[in-house]
Amino acid sequence: MKSKTRIVAQRRWFRQLMLFLGMLALLTACGGGTTTPTSGGGLSSGSNGSSSNEIKIGALATLTGPFAALGADGMRGVELAISEFGGQVAGKKITLIKESSDATPAVARDAARKLIEQDNVDLMIGPLSGDEGLAVRDYAKTQPNKVFLNGSSAAQDTTLRNSAPNFYRFSTDGVQWMAGLGTYAYQAQGHRRVVTVAEDYSFPYSQVGGFMTEFCRVGGHVPKKFWVPLGTTDYSSVVSSIPTDIDGIYVALGGSDGVNFLKQYVQFGGKAPIIGGSITVDQTVLSTKGTLYQRVLGTASAGPIADNNPDAAWQQFVSAYKAKFPDGLPSPSLFAHAYYINTKAALLALQQVNGDLSNGEAKLKVTLSNLQFDTPTGPVKLDHNRQAIANIYVTVVDKKSDGTLYNKLVKVIPNVNQTLGVPEDQYLAQGPLSRDNPSCP
């Protein structure tokens, strides 16, 4: 009796399956799409703009995951720029829509898609990290009628190779951030042989590549490069295989990775001085005490900002930041800086076109391409890949009168372009930066 019911049930399900498949066939037959295939990866879909008396700006940053604190500071940069314009541009109210990712490319692209297609923003700013930037750039190609501005993502290939015509980056990339450091290490600090220790992904490739491009050009040698996975805590195998006949170690490790490496290197008895990447010598490293203190002193690094830049424009930016965000960081991070500059570029361009977003935002695109303006860190303009040409700052860790450590500005490298002065075709011919490129052992 019971098994009979089961057979009946199966028959019914078979009938329902047939019905289902039949209807499916019917609907796919008549509902077939006519959209053309897209040039970028993944899926795309069209969308329409917002109403005419407001400008919708989408901002994408990592508000969850390991970079959450950095993403929050990026958002502060966006808000700071908007408040500078009094919350409106060309007589239209600015509506800011925030979206979060967790530093993975897939989530960043989904978040960008939500901003563009669901929230119907007129333009978006973001994302924060390198691989996310590549993903959003690819998505931008499927939305040619919208304008995308970078947040703080700094992978070089986002704009140098396969760039999207509607993706603009008014912030500098990880290679540019190293401008001047190789020369400074060679000439001012007298380093000839340097090994590198860096995390094994695209951003540190850019940093090591940028450092080596200059360092090798002036005559330095890098006999060995160490690549460690993100979040490594045990550096003993690296530390024990660092050669002794070197003048310095270039360390491009972020956050706690950097501190962990330094501690273990000093414990091991390592003597070589440190040269830092753009995010290596941060507040965590600067607040160290004890044996590390002396070792950190004198560490050179370079980046898009210098905390103690005496320039009036920078000081004004810092005090505006502090006034608006009393609970923010002691000083705006390079993430706040990059998001601020990209947002400001968008707003200045919107002002120039008087909020005209017709015809696939054509006017805005032209205006952005030709836009030049003064930022807290000097003038910025774009190259033909829509990549910023701007100032870079070389700093050295020094101590204040009360003994606390800080990054002292030692040199400003003006108008750094994406290829660090190498002609573009020659630079491109060297191939993308990777573990093995460049090389000067």
Partner: protein, 365 residues
């Protein structure tokens, strides 16, 4: 009995029409980010629910197998430039093979040990993908995967992609439903509840478990192909611990006792992740609380909850309510001395798969 059947057919027809007509009334964003994403996540979760519900194996390796398939397809089509079907076949086959190997390792264990071994397998795949440069391109992964042209079918068109994914999801669902009721599925449920008894009856418990895990790997492989097309790229971030847990959350939210739960859970999950962020920055907390509530109060997940609500609703309007309530109670486990027939085996379950099916109600009326 007949009224129940009519109700069911009517309900099913409405559901099918809704699913088919979804792209006609919903925005493209909803079709893409809710529709397609729920479907391919649902497919992966379906494999997990089958593993957990029918086989008693809670696997954390499903997203890793998804990744194996996605990576293989991406490498074959992007790195080597071979046609899409080579990529799809290679991806699904490789995921299935690896699932078989994983199964051979882990199917001997049960409970928490099984979870830990599958977690280790998942992390193995993740760290390989993250650290290998030759094939998987490290942290960046492989970009530029494009949904193909399958004859006249333009897969890069969202609506077409939706229908193809819907069709595949339906086929996987119906296939698993069939297998669950076939002798293999019944034996599997018997093994889940009492492996020793089934062994003594002549069933090879280990072989059943390995086969089931391999099947779930095949399904994860299908999900991997669809998901990688959808993302247009694959990177370690697509298969990290968060994504691994997400699939488990989807399965538990939907309900581990019901295959349909996979899709209910996936829709709920994608809706919350996409729209809770508009209201709060802490959308992960929302998901976490929902998960906690489901795990504590509704062990059958959202689908169990909705069935229960429906039942209570019909109970209050129908004078036969008392009768219906009694029939839906879990069937009492037979005493150990009683020889299990295939039917008592299927009823004697902690997870109540068969007793939750309406057929059981009909049977007793």
């Amino acid at each position: 009995m007949s009224t129940v059947r009519i109700q069911r057919i009517a309900g099913l027809t409405v559901l099918i029409v809704l699913l088919l007509a979804f792209p006609l009334f919903a925005s493209q964003f909803l079709v893409v980010q809710i529709g397609i994403q729920s479907l391919f996540l649902g497919i992966v979760a379906l494999g997990l629910i089958f593993l957990a519900g029918y086989g008693g194996m809670v696997s954390l390796a499903q997203m890793a197998l998804y990744g194996v398939s996605g990576y293989t397809m991406a490498i074959v089509t992007v790195t080597y430039g071979l046609p899409w079907y080579v990529g799809v076949i290679a991806g699904v086959i490789f995921a299935t093979l690896l699932a078989a190997i994983f199964a051979l390792i882990s199917a001997h264990t049960q409970g928490i040990y099984f979870i830990m071994i599958t977690l280790a397998e998942a992390m193995l795949v993740y760290f390989y993908a993250d650290q290998d440069r030759v094939f998987t391109n490290g942290h960046t992964g492989i970009n530029g995967v494009r949904p193909p042209l399958i004859g006249p079918i333009v897969m890069s068109d969202p609506t077409t992609f939706y229908y193809v994914t819907l069709l595949i999801a339906a086929l996987v669902y119906l296939g698993l439903r069939y297998i669950g009721r076939a002798p293999f599925g019944l034996a599997l449920q018997g093994i889940r509840d009492n492996a020793q008894r089934m062994q003594s009856l002549g069933f090879n418990a280990y072989a059943h478990r390995v086969t089931t895990f391999t099947l779930a790997g095949f399904i994860a492989g299908i999900g991997g192909v669809l998901g990688t097309w959808y993302d247009g790229a694959i990177s370690p971030g697509s298969i990290d611990l968060t994504r691994t847990i997400n699939i488990l959350v989807i399965a538990v939210l939907g309900g581990l006792s019901y295959l349909e739960g996979a899709f209910v859970g996936a829709v709920f999950f994608t809706l919350v992740t996409n729209f809770a962020s508009s209201f709060t920055d802490r959308f992960n907390t929302v998901i976490g609380l929902a998960f906690l509530a489901v795990a504590l109060f509704f062990p059958d997940g959202l689908i169990g909850l909705s069935k229960k609500t429906l039942q209570i609703a019909t109970q209050t309007v129908s004078w036969r309510g008392r009768n219906a309530l009694e029939s839906s109670k879990p069937v009492k486990a037979p005493s150990a001395s009683k020889l299990p027939t295939s039917d008592t085996v299927s009823e004697d379950k902690k997870l109540m798969i068969a007793s939750a099916n309406p057929e059981e109600e009909e049977k007793q009326q």
